[in-house]
Amino acid sequence: MFPEAFVLLLLVAFNAGSSLGKDNERFHEELVVRPLSGDHVNTYFQFTTRWHYGEKDNLYHTQLTPRVIAELLQQFAVKELHIGLTQGLWRYETWGYPIVEATSGAEMWAWFSGSNLTNGEVDRQWKELANVFSGVLCASLNFVDNTNSIAPRHLIRPQFMPANGQRFVRYSTLPREIVCTENLTPWKKLLPCGSASGFASLLNSGHVHNTKYHSLGLKVRVLCEDHDEENCIVELTQTANLVYDLRLFELSNNDFSLRRLFGMGLNGFCELADSSKIYVQRNEQGERFQLVPAPTQEVRSTRGGHSVVYSVYDMHEQFKDAGERLFNVAWLSPKSEGRRRNLAKPSLPPVTVHRYLLGHGQERGRIVTEVTNSHYDALPIMVQEVVPWYVHAYLHTLSIRRKPQRVNEYGRQRLPFKLLHYTPGKQRELPSHLEIGFMLPGQTSALITIDVDYLLLKWLEYPPDANHGHYIGAAIVSSQLPMGRNYTALPPEGHLFEHSFNATRPSYVLSLHTEALIVSLPTPDFSMPYNVICLACTVVALAFGPIHSVATKMIIVGRQASAPKNFVKKIFNKIFRRGKAGEEAPAEAEGAVLGAAAAAAPLGPSGFGSSRASRTTGGPSGDQPLLEDLDEEEEEQD
């Protein structure tokens, strides 16, 4: 009786557990389409898996969450992880702010938390973590190590709920990374439905990589209730942010559709998804388009005094009736508009950033970061710079100059730092890490400059195309906006795009990436290491030989060689003498030998048979130079 009851109990428990698991693991897919100014269209995919796994042991049984993410939490003390793989540059001035920030190339940062964590241990885990995702995403993240990682002090804030224990953060960018198909495919494999159905089926590399800007993102965070390690949620957010340039479609008008953008219509929704929705922005640039099919639902979001209207297509409703078909949405511009470019100027976002290099030549330069505040009020600005080790930055040259936004040139007016954190870099070991904070008055631009020297590297440290230049990663500029204009990012506590609707807060944390820079370092000649080594050693030998002979040899008075005046005869004489050198040596070297003042043994003057001193001066004895007869010298040596 007892065993049966036990088995029954187990079964019940198992069923309960599994049903709990199903309930506590949810997957959502969202697609946001925002027409941007200048005939651009931003499409943003977000796939969110949220799993209330409870305690750590449950991580062994994964369902929707990819196994690698669960294993990650078992192996590392990582609590939050962001990876971005991006190609292209987001244009803040014309496109506004993106929903998810990313910098060109690969970018990665992670928060570690746990008891008994040390800096060394975090460094180790960080490197391993990068290697894991290097494999998972087929990106060169394995190049992330201490030489390009920093521990940001102020700028990167955690978005997880810190359990007890210390927090560590590591940040790194690889601006040289090129993002392509090989990253998209493994990225799609992390999705529960893969690329077979759902929104992910729209992401075909042929179309994705034709865009002006595309950015793949992956974000993992762990939320533990009440600092309790036993009651945790893991949240995996995969994002794909694309910007299409409609002009590249070569259409007669500005109409576009899902099929036009992605090459095919939507074949349905992911069956594992709890929700599957398309949001289409209808105001601002989206206002002029007419949607086909007409949307059934409309959402108005007012956030920080700024309203946005979205039309919503719920895929679960669209595909309610069974049957094979593809879903497509078309944006039709008014006929009158025709082929004309959309020249409507967008409203300038409150904060914009730019970065560039000053100076020419491969010796030194100046990194300039320009931050413009077009808001009427002062804004707090924080800037984080990572200067790689192959560029020396001089902190004492750091300055912030300001000018009113309308004026063209910067004057001598300076802005004081409110905050400065600097870790100097070390060649081949550490990058320089600079974080500065200041208040930027309204309608003002700030010009942050720092002088740098370009280093000459060892010849094997240059990448294959050495004259392509070396990258300096983008700076991150962060601010807190008092209003929500242009601001579309998710609130930190939300995990779906729809959580940003009506999410009015006292302030909105904005973080922007500047352009990455490319510096051309001086290059050595790669073709002649042997020659250089030989030549340098020759010069050393040029010193060594004579100094050695001065120090060790004796002074000899030799007969003045009667050299012929005629050049030809001279040469003949040379050849003749060389031929007979063996025989003539004794005769030539006759003369007096000075017992050199050196204590070192005189190098044996061999074959002084017939030599004789022609003149013996009464040489002083002792330390004074002594003129001796050669015969005696030879006897001594014998």
Binding site: K426, P522, P524, P529, A543, V557, R615, T617, Q624
Partner: protein
């Protein structure tokens, strides 16, 4: 001290002051030939700035000046930056004055020695002996060679810390000639902890102060080690960390910065195969320190100042981060050996080498770094030729000294079978 001496000092200061107000000063401060990672003014500023901001300057690898100098100058750098050029000029003038007094004394010593040995000299060697006029001429030549050498002038207006090194070296030589043991030791220890290579100057110091007894030599060596430790400890207490040792001595020894300079190291170690690097590093550092130390100290044991001159010169050629300021310093010591000049055969060659390579360097640097029409080999060639020229000069001086010594006692005209003979080394 004659009025001419002060006039020269004033004139030297005026020349420097004039040039430090021209745009040339900023340009020189950025030239790799003058400003190396060790001595550049910009790095000194950075070090002082970091020190004042409470960041350990040796945590990064931009600053390689010793902590004592940084903290000593930090007040000046912060409060009176406009007086910095004047400060460097004063230091340089002081160096010149020290060299002048040193050489006066040296000539006097030489003349005394000559008076003792005179009867042993050969007959026709008056022109090889120090004359009465030399007492005035040689110090004047030394001071002119220091004050009006374009290399030292530019090094001074570029505000490189070579000016400080030169001052210490001049003070060392002064104490050496004057016979002041303790200041000599201290200054040498300070320079050794600061830039490593001056350690070789312990040889002339030992030759001067422990001529007779070995025990005295051992005591002096021990004293030197102790004073090095004291200096290191003093440096330690500036920041309470030993990081500076790796930042100064370690940086010099391991040659971490490959920035081009006039020496032999930079391109050699840029192009070096990684698995040979350590070996060649040790070889080159030995070459710059002990390789010539022992044979030359034995050979020149009776001429400690010549030994010091040659060692300073070899240091300027073979050190890891040489600058033209170092070259200017040892060039100013050459007039001390005016009586050897007769035997220096390569004067013209060396002068041409210097002139051509120094003018080529600027052009080739521009072609490589800015115009992009030349590559590193061109500049390397110029620095290589410059080093060769310097080596010719040094070996020439050594040969000339040996020949002079020989001729001084054996007469300048040596005949074999009635024919004029030549002096060779065998």
């Amino acid at each position: 001290m004659d009025p001419k001496f002060f006039k020269l000092l004033l004139l030297g200061g005026a020349v420097r002051f004039y040039f430090c107000r021209t745009p040339l000063a900023a340009m020189i401060g950025n030239r790799v030939e003058f400003a190396t990672p060790l001595n550049s003014h910009k790095r000194m500023q950075e070090g002082i700035f970091l020190l004042q901001s409470g960041i350990d300057p040796y945590q990064g690898d931009l600053v390689h000046e010793s902590p004592l100098i940084l903290s000593a100058l930090s007040g000046l750098f912060k409060n009176y930056p406009q007086f910095l050029p004047v400060f460097y000029i004063i230091l340089d003038i002081f160096t010149a004055a020290l060299l002048y007094t040193m050489s006066r004394r040296f000539v006097k010593q030489k003349q005394d020695q000559q008076n003792v040995e005179r009867k042993e000299y050969a007959k026709d060697t008056e022109e090889l002996q120090f004359s009465c006029l030399d007492k005035l001429d040689i110090p004047e030549l030394v001071i002119v060679a220091y004050l009006f050498n374009p290399l030292t002038v530019m090094s001074c207006i570029g505000m490189t810390s070579t000016v400080i090194s030169n001052l210490f070296l001049a003070f060392f030589l002064y104490c050496l000639v004057k016979g002041l043991l303790l200041p000599c030791l201290l200054v040498l220890a300070f320079e050794t902890v600061r830039s490593f290579y001056p350690i070789v100057l312990i040889a002339p110091l030992l030759l001067v102060f422990s001529r007779s007894s070995i025990r005295r030599g051992v005591v002096i060596s021990l004293l030197f080690i102790v004073s090095c430790l004291i200096v290191a400890a003093a440096n330690f207490f500036v920041l309470n960390s030993w990081n500076f040792l790796d930042g100064t001595l370690g940086f010099i020894f391991y040659f971490r910065d490959l920035q081009p300079n006039i020496g032999l190291f930079w391109y050699f170690f840029t192009e070096m195969f990684e698995h040979f690097r350590t070996m060649f590093l040790i070889t080159f550092q030995l070459n710059a320190t002990v390789l010539y130390l022992v044979p030359l100290s034995i050979k020149l044991r009776k001429e400690p100042l010549l030994l010091a001159t040659v060692l300073v010169a070899l240091m300027a050629v073979f050190r890891a981060y040489p600058s033209l300021g170092d070259v200017g310093f040892y060039l100013a010591l050459l007039p001390l050996w005016k009586r050897c000049w007769k035997f220096m055969a390569h004067g013209f060659v060396v002068f041409t080498f210097f002139l051509v390579t120094l003018s080529m360097m600027g052009a080739l640097w521009h072609l490589w770094i800015y115009a992009g029409s030349a590559n590193a080999n061109f500049y390397f060639g110029a620095t290589l030729a410059f080093s060769t020229g310097q080596i010719f000069l040094i070996t020439d001086l050594l040969f000339a000294h040996v020949k002079r010594e020989f001729c001084l006692f054996n007469g300048q005209k040596i005949l074999i079978d009635g024919e004029e003979a030549r002096i060779v080394l065998k």
